[in-house]
């Protein structure tokens, strides 16, 4: 009892690095151990995660939030992926600053002109990117960023299948028509989520897509592309 309370107290008291590291480790553990299905569903998360990363920033509800599940919004990033968000923020910031210098303001524009806000926001983005990098470096020093791979739960395959489905849908929509392109999209996404009754899925997909087309054309007068079916029928 005493040990437990001491642990949680020291967690909130400041030594964020090591405690948060144990939090992300635990998240990884549950993620990889969750072979037998939904046992690790978030709401069912048991008490054993009480001492997960008590956030340093943010006031108020932290104590209660930390009790339910390892909060993804405060867990530190780890591995090579830890640089993704700082890099993204820096790129957006750089584009904004670049825009601030290249936007052509009409000669009679009132000041502050159209480039003022992009410049300010770009500068702020770069500052935030620098601060995010600083936090990463600090976590690396204290060992929090090197502990395990917190993204082990991420399954790339279904995401790539969905992306491929969307890209194909966008590419063929205006040639093939909504009916077939929509049905294909539905089928591919269902497949990515693990549907394996191919024929039944296809029937459901076609009827969904057809219902949308009929509903929108007749009900709201919105025309969806008919594609080559329009020519054939």
């Amino acid at each position: 009892m005493t040990a437990n309370s001491e642990q949680s107290v020291s967690g909130t008291a400041g030594d964020r690095g090591s405690v948060s590291a144990s939090g992300s480790e635990e998240a990884t553990a549950t993620a990889t151990a969750g072979v037998d299905g939904a046992a690790v569903a978030a709401p069912a998360a048991p008490e054993d995660t009480t001492d997960t990363g008590a956030p340093e920033h943010g006031a108020g509800t932290d104590a209660t939030a930390a009790e339910t599940e390892p909060d993804p919004e405060t867990a530190p990033w780890s591995g090579p992926a830890m640089w993704v968000v700082p890099a993204l923020v820096a790129v957006v910031g750089a584009v904004c600053v670049w825009g601030a210098f290249t936007i052509e303001a009409p000669p009679n524009a009132t000041r502050p002109g159209p480039a003022a806000f992009p410049g300010a926001i770009g500068a702020l983005l770069l500052v935030v990117a620098a601060l995010l990098t600083l936090v990463n470096v600090r976590n690396l020093r204290s060992g929090a960023g090197t502990a395990g791979n917190a993204l082990a739960w991420f399954e790339g395959r279904p995401v790539l299948i969905i992306l491929a489905g969307l890209v194909v849908h966008v590419a063929v929509l205006e040639f093939v028509g909504w009916l077939l392109a929509g049905a294909l999209l539905f089928w591919v996404v269902a497949y990515a989520f693990g549907a394996r009754a191919y024929l039944r899925d296809a029937v459901v997909a076609l009827s969904m897509s057809a219902a949308v087309q009929v509903g929108f054309s007749l009900g709201l007068g919105l025309s969806l592309p008919g594609g080559f079916l329009e020519l054939v029928l």
């Binding site: 005493t2 001491e6 107290v9 400041g14 939904a38 569903a41 709401p43 956030p55 920033h57 943010g58 006031a59 108020g60 509800t61 939030a65 339910t68 909060d71 919004e73 405060t74 867990a75 993704v84 968000v85 584009v95 904004c96 825009g99 936007i103 303001a105 009409p106 524009a109 009132t110 502050p112 002109g113 992009p118 983005l125 935030v128 995010l132 399954e155 790339g156 279904p158 995401v159 969905i162 992306l163 969307l166 849908h169 966008v170 205006e174 929509g182 089928w187 996404v189 269902a190 497949y191 990515a192 693990g194 549907a195 899925d201 997909a205 969904m208 949308v212 709201l220 007068g221 919105l222």
Partner: protein, 518 residues
């Protein structure tokens, strides 16, 4: 006060079978588009506009108002059940609503949302009917400087809602602001960040951002979680009705949410997003205070019913509030109201101060039919709450395939262009990345919605004062707002420091204890 008899007259003329049918159709359609992700009430009204040209103005406006209210009711459903809000006004509901659903309290969350919406739209409409002139004069006090103060205030209010890392919230807000700058600058007309594409000149539509970040981003995130994700079909729908305790916890947030919505609805540009987030933040703070003073357990972060009741009441009463400037000034304060204004003009009616005199019967019939619409929405939606909750029982592949299909449809329907679908894909990938790395999405949305307003008003204010920055703090309203901003920023820091000091001393005490034991 002669408004009451006029409202009664309006009620009598609204109660014709024909008008009742239109109101019914409107609320039904509104609920439907509110439920579907990306299809907001603004789009439904826009699509209906040409269809209703042959109707008489009263019927058409009753239909539109029904759609508007229905959208506010329906938006909550998918927020709570699927974590994908149907429209921007129900983003705040997702925080606690979806957590309630995951705990098997979906029906209660939907119930408190529906009843809260009903209470708010009844009170909100009555307030509009009785105090419209006063509210119009208040809204007229808002100049560019005050608007800018209001947007700054909203940014801070949103930051207060988003717990977790301040830095990540800030990154998200700034990314949203950056997205909001794409397109033609409204003040000078110069193109910004168009990258040579003509489609980018129109900016990135808010529907694309909402659908991409929330609906499609959620679909991909759930796919990426695979087996480790929450299993929706394992959720028990639970008992259908609110228990006595739920009622006791809901009624105060309903009233507070209604008050916030009524106050912010008439202010142009504030829309429904600001009051919903303010309401969520307020309820969270009050729950913290209750936990501290009386030891009541603070359920925020794990599905607190107050966090659903407040925002849902706020968005409906703000919908009623937008009727004030629309009818009284001819000033639309939300996208839907803007299209309704177009509908007025289509019939040759010019909303404004004279509308109440020249077309009084139309105005009062419209207000009365809003009351009738609210009752209808309650009757339609309350029995459906447990039924909607059953939506979660659909096979997961079909559920998410359906959401994907409607997301693509919603974006394609904006202006039937494939380029917008490509934008949608990019935004959805951004949403997936943000979720994967635990960067909150809501600040980005607020940035996209309010960023352009903040920039326009800031520059308009400075242009009006020919560069003198004192105009930004030139009135009581803006000074009050900035003082609130300062308080909101300073108080958490002080509380944080005090708590840390207290914890340090108690930690030292615990260490002494264990040392004694050992």
């Amino acid at each position: 006060m002669d408004a009451l008899p006029l409202l009664l007259d309006g009620l009598v003329s609204a109660l014709t079978p024909q008008n009742l049918v239109w109101a019914f159709l409107g609320v039904l359609l509104g609920t439907a588009v509110g439920v579907l992700p990306g299809l907001g009430s603004a789009m439904a009204v826009a699509l209906l506009l040409p269809v209703t040209f042959r109707l008489d103005p009263t019927s058409a406006l009753i239909l539109f108002a029904g759609v508007y209210y229905g959208g506010m009711f329906g938006g909550a459903t998918t927020s709570i059940l699927l974590n994908t809000p149907g429209q921007a006004s129900s983003i705040a509901t997702t925080y606690e609503g979806h957590k309630m659903a995951l705990k098997g309290r979906a029906a209660q969350a939907l119930g408190t949302a529906v009843i809260g919406s009903f209470v708010a739209s009844m009170i909100g409409t009555m307030v509009v009917a009785l105090f419209a002139p006063v509210m119009v004069s208040l809204a007229l006090n808002f100049g560019p400087g005050e608007y800018f103060a209001l947007t700054v205030f909203s940014f801070v209010a949103v930051a207060a809602v988003v717990s977790g890392s301040v830095l990540r919230g800030l990154a998200s807000l700034l990314i949203g602001l950056a997205i909001g700058m794409v397109g033609i600058d409204s003040q000078s007309g110069s193109a910004r960040f168009d990258f040579g594409s003509s489609a980018m000149l129109d900016g990135i539509d808010i529907v694309i951002v909402t659908v991409g970040l929330l609906a499609l981003g959620e679909v991909m995130y759930v796919a990426a979680r695979g087996r480790t994700g929450a299993d929706l079909s394992a959720i028990r729908t639970g008992r259908a009705w609110l228990s006595r305790r739920d009622w006791a916890r809901s009624w105060k947030p309903w009233l507070r949410g209604t008050a916030l919505g009524s106050a912010f609805g008439p202010i142009p540009g504030s829309g429904a997003e600001i009051p919903t987030f303010l309401s969520l933040g307020l309820e969270r703070k009050l729950a913290e205070r209750r936990a501290k003073r009386r030891g009541v357990r603070n359920e925020f972060g794990e599905g607190a019913i107050e966090g659903v009741a407040g925002p849902e009441a706020a968005n409906n009463s703000s919908a009623a509030g937008t009727m004030v400037p629309l009818l009284g000034l001819g000033l639309p304060t939300s996208a839907t109201a803007a299209i309704m204004l177009a509908a007025f003009q289509q019939y040759g009616l010019q909303p404004g101060p004279v509308l109440f005199e020249r077309n009084a019967d139309l105005v009062w019939t419209l207000l009365a039919s809003l009351l009738i619409g609210s009752v209808m929405l309650l009757v339609i939606n309350l029995p459906f709450a447990p039924l909607w909750a059953k939506l979660l029982k659909l096979p997961k592949p079909y559920l998410y395939a359906g959401i994907t299909l409607f997301s693509v449809l919603a974006v394609y329907a904006i202006n039937t262009s494939v380029v917008h679908l490509v934008m949608l894909l990019c935004v959805a990938l951004l949403g997936l990345a943000m979720r994967t790395f635990g960067v909150p999405v809501a600040p980005a949305l607020i940035g996209v919605v309010l960023g352009p307003i903040a920039e326009t008003e800031f520059r308009r204010a400075l242009a009006a004062s020919s560069g003198d920055p004192t105009i930004l703090v030139g009135s009581g309203i803006s000074i009050t707002l900035y003082v609130l901003v300062l308080l909101a920023a300073v108080i958490p820091v002080i509380a944080h420091l005090r708590r840390r000091r207290a914890e340090r001393t108690s930690a030292a005490a615990v260490e002494r204890d264990t040392a004694d034991l050992g």
